[in-house]
Symmetry: C2
Subunit: 336 residues, 2 copies
Amino acid sequence: MRNLITDVPGLKVGNADDAKLASGVSVVVFDQPAAAGIATPGGAPALRDTALLAPEMTVERIDAIVLSGGSVHGLDAAGGAIAWLNEHGRGFAVGSARAPIVPGAALFDLDNGGDKNWGRPAPYGELAYAAAARADFDFALGTAGAGYGATICGLKGGLGSASALTSQGYVVGALAAVNSVGRATRGEAPYFWAAPYERDGEFGGLGEGGALPPAALELALKRANPGATTPAVVATDAPLDKAMATRLAVMASAGFALALRPAHAPLDGDVVFAASTARAGRAPDLVDLTEIGMLAADCLARAIARGVYEATALPFSGAKLSWRQRYGAAPAPPDA
Amino acid sequence: MRNLITDVPGLKVGNADDAKLASGVSVVVFDQPAAAGIATPGGAPALRDTALLAPEMTVERIDAIVLSGGSVHGLDAAGGAIAWLNEHGRGFAVGSARAPIVPGAALFDLDNGGDKNWGRPAPYGELAYAAAARADFDFALGTAGAGYGATICGLKGGLGSASALTSQGYVVGALAAVNSVGRATRGEAPYFWAAPYERDGEFGGLGEGGALPPAALELALKRANPGATTPAVVATDAPLDKAMATRLAVMASAGFALALRPAHAPLDGDVVFAASTARAGRAPDLVDLTEIGMLAADCLARAIARGVYEATALPFSGAKLSWRQRYGAAPAPPDA
C-alpha cells in the first residue's frame, strides 16, 4: 500500500504544474470507465460536466476526473485530458465518434503570486494533457498538481492523498487539493483537526495536542484572498452504481468537516467526486457501503491534513508559510 | 442563556411523549413565519412537506417544524401542529383560508419495546397538538419529545439542544433527536466525538480522553434494530432568505460529522432544518453567515452529545443503557 488513492486497483493519477504560473492540474485516469457520483456541500463550487453524474442521467461511467487550479480558467483543463483520452481510443461511443467523459473541479489560486498573464488560451488544457500522459501509481503530494498554488487560512495548502482497507477487503482512497477558506489545524497550534484519524504518522504523528485552546474555535478565514475551494476525489474498488457512488460521495463529504474549520462555507467550494472501479468481485451490501463511506470520509480528512503537511511554500515575497516552516520539520509530540 | 435553541429570539419548543408508546414529538413553533431551508445528507430520511423549502418554491416562510418518533407513522404528527396553529389564526393566507406551513421529519423508534399497536389513527397527530400547545422557552432534554424512544449504537439516544453567540452578536441554536445508526462516543469509551466543541461541561466535561483507542475507528452500528435517523433543527435570529437558510442547513450538517460516526450513512436519515427568525436588525454578510454556519455545526454536534448525555433508559427488558448508567453519573475527568 502506498497510502495513495492509487492503492485502489483500476486508476492512476498524474500531476502537471508550472512554477512561474504557481498553479497546476491533477488528473485521475480510470483504466476502464467508472461509475461515479458527486457531493457539493461548499457554497462556491467551480465545476465542469458534473450534471451527468446524477443517477437519472444517461451516461453511466466516466473516464477521468480533473482537479485544477485557475478558478474558472482552470475549467479548461478537462479539455486537455479529453484530448489525451481521445488519442487513446477512450470515451463514450456515439457512432464512430468517441466522447471521453471527464468531469472536473477548479480551485481559486489566482492571487497567489504566480504569473497569471497567460493570454489565450489559458494553460490548463495543456497541463491536463501532460498530467494525463504521465498518470501512474506514484505521484507527488504537497505543492504539486492541483495543489501547487493552493493556500489555506494562515498556511500553504497542497495536494494530499490517503487510503484504507475495509474489514471486508474493499480498498478506499482519497485525493484532495486543499485550498480552504478556513484552517486544517486547531487554531494556531500545529495539531491537525484530522488527528483522530491519522495512520502511521502520515501527517506528523502529533496527535490532538491535549486540551483545545478556546481560540481554536473562533472563526478564522483567509481574508486577503478569500477565494477558496477544496476539490477532492474518493474511489473504491467495490462495484457501485451511480446512486451508490452518490451516497459514497455524500458520506465522504463528512471528511471536510473532520479536517477543516469551518466546513461547507459560502466562500468555499467543498466538492467530492466518488468513483467505483468495480475491480472487487463481490457487490457491497448496505453495511459494506456504510464502512466504505466511513473510511472514505476518514481518507478525505487524512488526505486534507497530508496535503497541508507535505506542502512547501511558494517562492514569492509574502507567500504563506508551509506547515513545516511554521511548526518545524518534526516537532516533538506533546507527550515527549 | 439557557443553552437551548430557545435562546434564539422568536421561537419556542414543546415536547409531548407517551411512556407506554415509548415515543414522542417535539415541535418548534415560530412566533412569526420564518424563512427556512433543509439539508438531507442521510440516506434514509422520512420527511413531510419539505419540497417547498427549496429556494425556488413559492412559499417563503414556515410556521413550525415537527420532529417525531414513529417512522412513517410519525409523519402524521405535523397534522396536529397544523391544527393547533390553525386554531390560533396562523398560516399562509389563501383567500379566507389559512394553511399553516409545517415541515416535519420522523425517526425510527418502532422496535424499542414500546406498545405500537395504536390502531387508527396513529397517536402522533395528538402528540404534536399537545406539544405545540405547551411550547415554551424551557423544555426537557434526554428521554423526552421526539427523542423519547430514540436509541443509538450501544446506548439510549435522546433529545439534545445547545446555543451559541457569534462575535457579531447573532444567536444560533440547535435541537436534535439523536437516533443514529452509529456511535456518539469514541468507541466503547465515554468520551464524546463532539468533545472539542463542548462548553461548560454541558455533556460531562470529560474532554477527548487522550489517545484514541484504535477500535474506536472500526465500524459499529446498531444491528438488531438498524432503523435510524437523527432529525435536527438549527435556528438563528439573523435575517436570512431561503437560499441563505439552505446554506446554513448545509453548513450545520457538518455537525453530524463532528458528533456521530459514521455520519450520513445509507441507513441513517441525517436531516437538518435551518430557520431564521430575523429578530436581529442587521443582515449578515458572507463572513457573518460563515460564522453562523460554523457555530450552527458546533451547536448541532453539542446538541447530539447532550441528547445522549441527558437520556435515561427505557423501562423495558433489554432496553439500551443510558450513557449515565454505563459510564456513571459523573465519571472523573481523565486528568483528575
